[in-house]
């Protein structure tokens, strides 16, 4: 077999030195919780993103955890993760001078990205329609919990309430329905909206390249979650069936067998579709033999029968009682092995024998997995201010000619004030804190 070449090596020039696919696009992002992920996606793909914060820094700088567990505006790891590769400036949008500078900044850029409460910019004298009328090529992206219009546009929301109201929570939890359903961590409401915002932005860029015209993009977090639950949505759309949550596996209209197993070391593995080919059953027999567990596994003979008859097929299920027994024995053999080996050995052992299996990693365990290390997924980012090099999760998608990269750590409050705002009005803004609208420091 000729293995696929590493896309990162497919080019003769050093890809690390090449600009990202969005190189040349200028983005002004108003700092927010909801649009930060979209901004990071664009920035790490090479767009020039200017992050605009209020004096003293945006409120999300107070979201923990913090480096060394010490709170501080430059120490929020949420901020670090969401704002790589961006430049930071401070504008006081509660003052006419700050609003005026934002207008100038926006008129020079390709894309405005904001996650403000609908209507709040207009209340501060920032009229999106007027700005877009004056700059017809501008693309303006708004991310909000329930869209820019409608009866719920002003409703308060958090990740938890969006995930509960938008569909995910109903699908997640345990077989025991006296336990509440579960919201998964990670800020997925904003992550879902973020990738949709970034993708729709590029649709608009492609259109602008051919037409010269920009447009407004309304991104709805609630709607995003609603179209992210697979069968949870289309069992109802198509057949008016309601799925029910189950432990560690798909919510389902009819109950399905457990797939998540506790391994010998207390870690968990998750199984794929049960074995059905003769090769699969032979692999189970071989491994049971290697572990000296062949005699201890009660349904050993069923696995041997499966090999002799050349495996089983799904259509035979329910038709031939012995096929059902073999099918169940395959699953039972996997569970039996899992109970006798550590989770990692179970995961690798099944996969290396061609049987589908996964391991339930804690997020922090991904970074030390030799596979992801070999692929260069953990990437070093310099934090010279702290005298540290910090390892970040790397590329979500890998481009062979225009690589994804973290260009820099997240910006400090007002870090790029002079270089970004200076060209707009060098006399007024080159010096930090000169006019009232641009001070990087909190008022008073």
């Amino acid at each position: 077999m000729t293995g696929a070449p590493n896309p990162a090596e497919a080019d003769v020039t050093s890809p690390e030195s090449l600009p990202g696919p969005l190189h040349g696009l200028e983005v002004v992002e108003l700092a927010s919780e909801h649009a930060a992920w979209a901004g990071k996606l664009l920035a790490d793909l090479g767009a020039d993103v200017t992050l605009v914060e209020p004096p003293g820094g945006h409120a999300t700088r107070s979201i923990g955890p913090f480096v060394d567990d010490e709170p501080g505006p430059e120490r929020s790891l949420w901020w670090w993760h969401h704002h790589t590769s961006k430049n930071g400036v401070v504008l006081d949008l509660d003052t006419p001078a700050g609003v005026e500078l934002l207008h100038r900044l926006v008129q020079r850029c390709d894309i405005v990205l904001e996650g403000e409460q609908p209507g709040s910019l207009a209340a501060r004298g920032i009229d999106r329609d007027a700005i877009m009328a004056a700059a017809p090529a501008l693309i303006w992206v708004s991310v909000s919990p329930f869209g820019q219009q409608g009866p719920r546009a002003q409703d308060p929301a958090t990740d938890l309430t969006l995930m509960a109201g938008g569909g995910p929570v109903w699908n997640c939890g345990y077989d025991d329905h006296t336990l509440p359903p579960v919201r998964g961590l990670g800020g997925q409401a904003a992550n879902v909206a973020g990738v949709h915002a970034a993708t729709a932005t590029l649709v608009a860029v492609v259109h602008r390249d051919s037409s010269g015209l920009g447009q407004h993009i309304d991104v709805n977090m609630h709607a995003g979650l609603n179209v992210t639950t697979e069968l949870g949505s289309y069992e109802w759309l198509v057949a008016r069936h309601t799925v029910q949550r189950q432990t560690g596996r798909h919510a389902s209209v009819s109950p399905t067998g457990p797939t998540q197993l506790k391994a010998a070391d207390g870690g968990y593995v998750t199984l794929g579709f049960p074995p059905r080919s003769a090769r699969d059953y032979q692999a189970l027999l071989d491994w049971l033999g290697e572990l000296d567990l062949a005699e201890a596994f009660p349904d050993h003979v069923l696995l041997e029968m499966a090999v002799e008859r050349g495996g089983v097929s799904i259509v035979e299920l329910g038709q031939d009682p012995i096929v059902d027994e073999i099918w169940n024995a395959g699953r039972a053999a996997m569970a039996f092995i899992a109970a006798h080996v550590d989770a990692r050995a179970c995961f690798d052992g099944f996969q290396q024998r061609g049987v589908v299996c996964g391991i339930v990693n804690a997020p922090e365990e991904v970074m030390s997995d030799p596979h992801f290390v070999a692929r260069g997924f953990p990437v070093p980012v310099e934090h010279a201010d702290l005298g540290r090099t910090v390892t970040y999760p790397g590329a979500p998608i890998r481009f062979s000619r225009s690589p994804w990269r973290i260009g820099s750590r997240a910006p400090h409050v007002g870090e790029h004030q002079g270089e970004v705002l200076g060209p707009l009005d060098s006399a007024q803004t080159a010096q930090r804190g000169a006019p009232p609208g641009v001070s990087p420091d909190p008022p008073g």
Binding site: P21, L237, V238, R398
Partner: protein, 422 residues
């Protein structure tokens, strides 16, 4: 606003008109990406294997169904994931089938697939071959562990990707095993990132004339979605956690209490409540209007976090006898984030936001008739999406595509079909 238009004249301009996608992808992690491109006007041609009736895509003939009919053209999920595409069949085990695929690729901007790593190259279509067919081709491959690395041959599906990436671990109640995600979240997100990859590569090509290969490992994509945790454990050198320690209905970051999912009146009925700050808690207290809420222990966030089990028991006592929608309505009216845990029927048939958005458009499928599907959570003011045509039946557009694009005559097509090439 609705994005569903019936007459050509009502259609918004198509941003991706003229973009041709030769799509070998399937399931949801691949099909969901090209669905997105089709919704904005790209011409997506789905190429499937006639020898197993498109069975590589296990969703093709899978539940749900609109009626009692069954078969590879009747899967409701397949219809949902493949709206707006054209469908052709090619037997890529035959030389003629490979030649016809090569001819399609020569006239395509983009090739997409989500086979296991290396499979498409073994069929004879490595990136180098694709470049010979079309020098500026954009090739996007998507699989669980990516095209390189020691685990490239590991087989995955959504739940395996979620487990390996850390997402499953991060969805749990304290003292319990991981609950995980009750659906293939990473098939949806893998598809969304794959669409992003295609579009970023198109933007790059439009500026430079260069195509490229984009390699997506869905597990890596998933790991970026828990990135703050990864930074925390790396920077602060914490020991990796064990299962049973996560309580994901609570919020440590940002710190909030009360913050949880509480029982409501009725069977398996729940309501989510989140107090972001002291002002939310004061508003929540005034809605609850019970003595326990004024206890000194709960007066400040630190106390509420320190006594969160007790706080949650009290709050659950208040919510338990009340309708979940009524609890949410009362709290929202007071400015406190709250939401009934929505069942599918709630959010699809009785939700003003999704209805006004046009989130559930109806498409026409050749055999299934009119069926509701998922729309997109974005609206573009000039070039909005259109979702109105159902998924293709197996080989439904062979004559149209091979006749139009490749110039084959009906007789030639009949002969190819006869010989098992189509």
């Amino acid at each position: 606003m609705t994005a569903t238009a019936t007459a050509e004249g009502d259609r918004p301009a198509a941003a991706l008109a003229g973009i041709r996608v030769c799509d070998l992808s399937g399931q949801l992690a691949g099909a969901g990406a090209t669905r997105y491109l089709a919704a904005f006007g790209a011409e997506v041609i789905r190429v499937e294997d006639p020898t197993n009736k498109g069975g590589w895509d296990i969703i093709r003939g899978a539940t749900p169904f609109v009626d009692d009919r069954r078969g590879v053209d009747l899967g409701g999920g397949f219809n949902n994931h493949n709206v707006g595409k054209w469908g052709v069949t090619l037997n890529l085990r035959t030389a003629e089938g490979k030649e016809m695929l090569a001819a399609l690729i020569r006239t395509s901007d983009v090739v997409t697939e989500n086979f296991a790593a290396g499979v498409f190259a073994r069929m004879g279509f490595s990136y180098d071959v694709l470049c010979e067919l079309r020098p500026d081709i954009i090739y996007v491959s998507n699989c669980g562990f990516g095209q390189t690395g020691p685990k490239r041959d590991y087989k995955t599906w959504g739940p395996i990707v979620q487990a390996c990436s850390g997402l499953t671990f991060n969805s749990a109640l304290a003292g319990h095993e991981p609950a995980g995600w009750g659906y293939s979240y990473m098939d949806h997100m893998g598809a969304n990132y794959m669409a992003l990859a295609v579009l970023a590569a198109i933007v790059h090509r439009n500026r430079t004339g260069e195509g490229q290969w984009v390699d997506i490992s869905c597990t890596e994509t998933g790991a970026t979605l828990t990135g703050t945790d990864i930074l925390d454990f790396g920077v602060n050198q914490r020991a990796p956690r064990r299962a049973g320690t996560v309580d994901s209905n609570r919020s440590a970051y940002p710190a909030m209490a009360p913050h949880g999912i509480y029982p409501a009146a009725g069977e398996d009925a729940w309501v989510a409540v989140a107090c972001r700050d002291e002002s939310d808690w004061a508003a929540c207290r005034s809605v609850i209007s019970e003595e326990w809420a004024d206890a000194e222990n709960f007066a400040h966030l630190e106390g509420r976090l320190a006594h969160q089990d007790e706080l949650d028991r009290h709050l659950a006592g208040w919510t338990r006898g009340r309708d979940r929608f009524e609890v949410a309505r009362l709290l929202l009216a007071a400015g406190v984030p709250a939401a009934a845990v929505a069942m599918p029927e709630d959010r699809i048939d009785h939700d003003q936001v999704t209805a006004d958005w046009g989130l559930w458009p109806t498409v026409h499928h050749t055999l299934m008739g009119d069926v509701r599907v998922e729309g997109l959570p974005v609206h573009l003011s000039r070039t909005d999406w259109v979702v109105d045509r159902g998924a293709p039946c197996l080989g439904e557009h062979n004559a149209q595509i091979f006749g139009g694009r490749l110039g084959l005559t009906p007789d030639e097509l009949a002969d190819l079909a006869e010989r098992g090439v189509l």
